[in-house]
């Protein structure tokens, strides 16, 4: 896991910068590809792999993680000056656990079947390294608004990987997308068979491994990233 340390700007800023200044856009866009939490920072792989058998749970999970990263970053950035550094882990965990409890209760209330399918993995957002990693590396040293954007960006970067992996797994493993049949019936009659491996856990690792291969082959400056 590579955690870059962001340094706080030492002098107070005189000019107010616009909400989407160039720097803030970069904060939002970087995690999507060049600094993707999963494939480059190696954060949050745990849950990324387990919920990607179908596209729908993956989407819900991505939204949940984005919500938690964005708002935990915001809250921690707001109170960062009043947290004693010795107990910052516990403070961060409590904030994150609070937000995750909120997501879990909402899912249970409005999307019970999805919540059952995600089972323990909603609770595991707490220990999702993305959340903690971004809190430590970014929100502890930055202003609330860039921190919020950083959270949204990292949540999106995480979501992209989740959706890509789940599209491959659902299409090849079950012949459908979001529950709709994509592979026509006549293909099965001609002897097409769903790839059973895609439904099993190892397939997710292969797909992410190949994705990393493709990404680093395209963008060679990432090769020595980890």
């Amino acid at each position: 896991m590579s955690v870059e340390t962001a340094t706080a700007p030492s002098k107070p800023e005189v000019k107010r910068e616009p909400l989407f200044s160039k720097k803030n856009r970069k904060v939002l866009r970087d995690p999507l590809d060049d600094n993707n939490p999963i494939t480059v920072q190696i954060l949050g792989i745990c849950s990324a792999l387990a919920v990607t058998v179908q596209v729908k749970p993956a989407l819900i999970m991505a939204v949940g993680v984005m919500f938690v990263t964005a708002f935990s970053n915001l809250i921690i950035a707001l109170i960062r000056d009043s947290i004693p550094s010795r107990i910052r882990m516990i403070v961060q965990l409590v904030v994150v656990a609070l937000l995750v409890t909120l997501v879990d209760q909402l899912l249970k209330a409005y999307m019970y079947d999805i919540s059952k399918k995600l089972s323990v993995f909603v609770g595991l957002i707490i220990t999702n390294c993305i959340v903690m990693g971004r809190l430590e590396a970014f929100a502890m040293a930055q202003k609330p608004w860039p921190s919020f954007l950083d959270g949204v960006g990292n949540g999106l970067g995480y979501g992209i990987i989740l959706v890509v992996v789940s599209i491959f797994r659902e299409l090849l493993g079950a012949g459908s997308l979001l529950g709709y049949k994509i592979v026509p019936q006549w293909a099965y009659e001609m002897g097409y068979v769903n790839n059973g491996l895609m439904v099993l856990p190892p397939a997710a690792l292969f797909i992410i491994g190949i994705y990393i291969w493709w990404q680093r082959g395209r963008n060679r400056k990432l090769i020595n990233a980890s």
Binding site: I42, L43, C46, V100, G123, T127, W213, G217
Partner: protein
């Protein structure tokens, strides 16, 4: 007895935390470059797991479940605090990790330096919290919880030491440049997962 043995075997091999649920992948991939550090982290995880999962079971049964508080006062019998589970579980884990950190620092400073940042990060090792949540979801009793936590810990230990051993050998093989490091580690974990799939269906 046989039932407990079954849970143990199942949690080590069939439902290995790494290969079946991908819990704790972050530290699994990051600390598996050398067998020695992997060994240390594996032991630390076993220890924290054995400490926290039964503790969380007690918290769940005597504080959180519906009617669990009736031992304090009969009028509290209808209180259901299960929604506080996440917060209490993670606090227990954070506390236990702090304890382990102090013990390791005192007795084996070399191991402490080797583990570095990853010792505090056991707190956010998904496999620890995952074990507690599985314990809650599968409604284990105390003996089952204890056995399950031992099994899950050993499963993680086994997986990380195996991967570290393979990665040490990988240094001598020619891997395409973009695939080196993380990419090949992912694919090897997948292959190991396939090997572990052959354990599925084992029943005692």
């Amino acid at each position: 007895m046989e039932h407990l043995l079954n849970i143990l075997i199942k949690s080590i091999f069939v439902e290995n935390v790494i290969f079946a649920f991908f819990l704790g992948m972050c530290s699994f991939l990051a600390v598996s470059k050398k067998v020695k550090t992997a060994f240390g982290l594996g032991l630390a995880v076993i220890f924290v797991m054995i400490l926290t999962t039964p503790l969380n079971y007690l918290i769940l049964t005597y504080m959180l479940k519906e009617g669990a508080l009736s031992w304090v006062h009969p009028s509290l019998a209808t209180v259901d605090l299960t929604f506080l589970g996440f917060i209490l579980f993670i606090s227990t884990i954070a506390g236990a990790v702090q304890l382990v950190e102090m013990v390791v620092e005192k007795f084996t400073p070399t191991l402490y330096n080797a583990l570095g940042i990853f010792l505090p990060l056991i707190t956010v090792n998904c496999s620890i919290l995952g074990a507690s949540l599985f314990m809650q979801e599968r409604e284990y009793n105390f003996a089952e919880t204890a056995v399950f936590s031992v099994g899950a810990g050993i499963g993680f230990f086994l997986a990380i030491v195996l991967l570290a051993a393979i990665r040490e050998r990988l240094r001598y093989s020619r891997i395409p440049e973009p695939l080196q490091g993380l990419g090949i580690a992912m694919i090897i974990t997948g292959l190991m997962g396939m090997a572990f799939l052959s354990f599925s269906g084992i029943q005692l």
